[in-house]
Amino acid sequence: MEITLNGEVKKVGVKNIYDLVKSLELDSDGVVILHNDEIVKKDLWQGSHLNVKDSVEVLYFVSGG
């Protein structure tokens, strides 16, 4: 299924946000997910199902002043 992941169209073989984060091998601490522009808290990742053409933004904290 194709979704837009951080602005790029990608084919993914996962069904929810939890599996997506896992498949990206991300350290889930401090990672924030926007699913179709809505913030999804970590405890809701498993229940957030992905549909074709959904947009997912994976954000985290970087250096800054």
């Binding site: 924030v32 904290f61 970087v62 002043g65």
Partner: protein
């Protein structure tokens, strides 16, 4: 030293630091320890899935208060969105609002900053807005619910010191909130100057991070901030146009 209180939270240190521009992130925890800074800024970005940078939170000890900024926001709406995302990530209630459209001097947009402050303060954030020095905008920020006001000393990363001194002095005198000088402080003497003026704290990033020895520079800033605060509390002697002798001018050598 008297405590810094922001949004009801007490801090021993009056030096806020930033995580930007360090040549190695390993320097960050060393700098925090040496400088005794208790609040540090960071920014929120998209993860680059092809070239991953390490999560900055891994370098910040748990006892440090995180101050995410809204850098990248060009209006109030974007700043509000970034703040909500940062809180959802578990970074606590502190937020540094930074709304910038001017890419040459990185001067913050006060009108949009006031709007974002109002919305976020109402949502329970402890809002620290970065702003272009101005008395009325500072008062509006207070009315909007800011926990402090953070006027710039000179443009971000310029190391030029407190070029906006006269306005910041007026703000300190007339706004009943902690005034934190953020941006432009390039050396410890300038941090001491801000504290002598009565600033509640200073935020220093570039000047510490770009030193070849950030921990040592952090400590130097910490000492300067303490010295400046101590001098402010002890009340400095008045300036005068002419000399006032410190030694008795006894007249035994001359008769007149």
């Amino acid at each position: 030293m008297d405590k810094l209180i922001l949004g009801g939270v007490e801090f021993e240190s009056r030096l806020l630091t930033g995580t930007g521009k360090f040549s190695s992130k390993d320097e960050i925890p060393k700098m925090l320890k040496a400088s005794e800074s208790q609040i540090i800024t960071m920014a929120l970005r998209r993860i680059n899935l092809n070239n991953r940078d390490e999560n900055i939170l891994n370098y910040i000890p748990k006892n440090i208060t995180l101050l995410p900024n809204t850098s990248g926001a060009r209006n109030a709406e974007e700043a509000i969105k970034i703040a909500r995302i940062a809180r959802a990530a578990g970074c606590g209630n502190f937020i540094k609002i930074e709304v910038i459209n001017d890419m040459k001097y990185l001067m913050p947009d006060n009108a949009e900053t006031i709007k974002a402050t109002k919305v976020l303060a109402d949502e329970g954030f402890i809002v620290l807005p970065y702003m272009t020095p101005d008395l009325i905008a500072g008062q509006r920020l207070k009315e909007a619910g800011a926990a402090a006001v953070m006027p710039l000393g000179s443009p971000i990363g310029s190391n030029r010191g407190i070029e906006t001194k006269a306005i910041i002095e007026i703000m300190i005198e007339n706004i009943d909130l902690p005034i934190i000088v953020d941006a432009g402080i390039g050396k410890p003497s300038q941090a001491a100057e801000a504290m002598e003026m009565g600033a509640a704290a200073v935020l220093v990033n570039t000047a510490i991070a770009c030193s070849p020895n950030p921990a040592e520079m952090g400590k130097a800033f910490s000492l300067a901030v303490k010295a400046g605060r101590m001098a402010y509390k002890a009340k400095m002697a008045e300036e005068s146009r002419y000399a006032n002798a410190s030694s008795p001018l006894t007249g035994f050598l001359h008769n007149n």
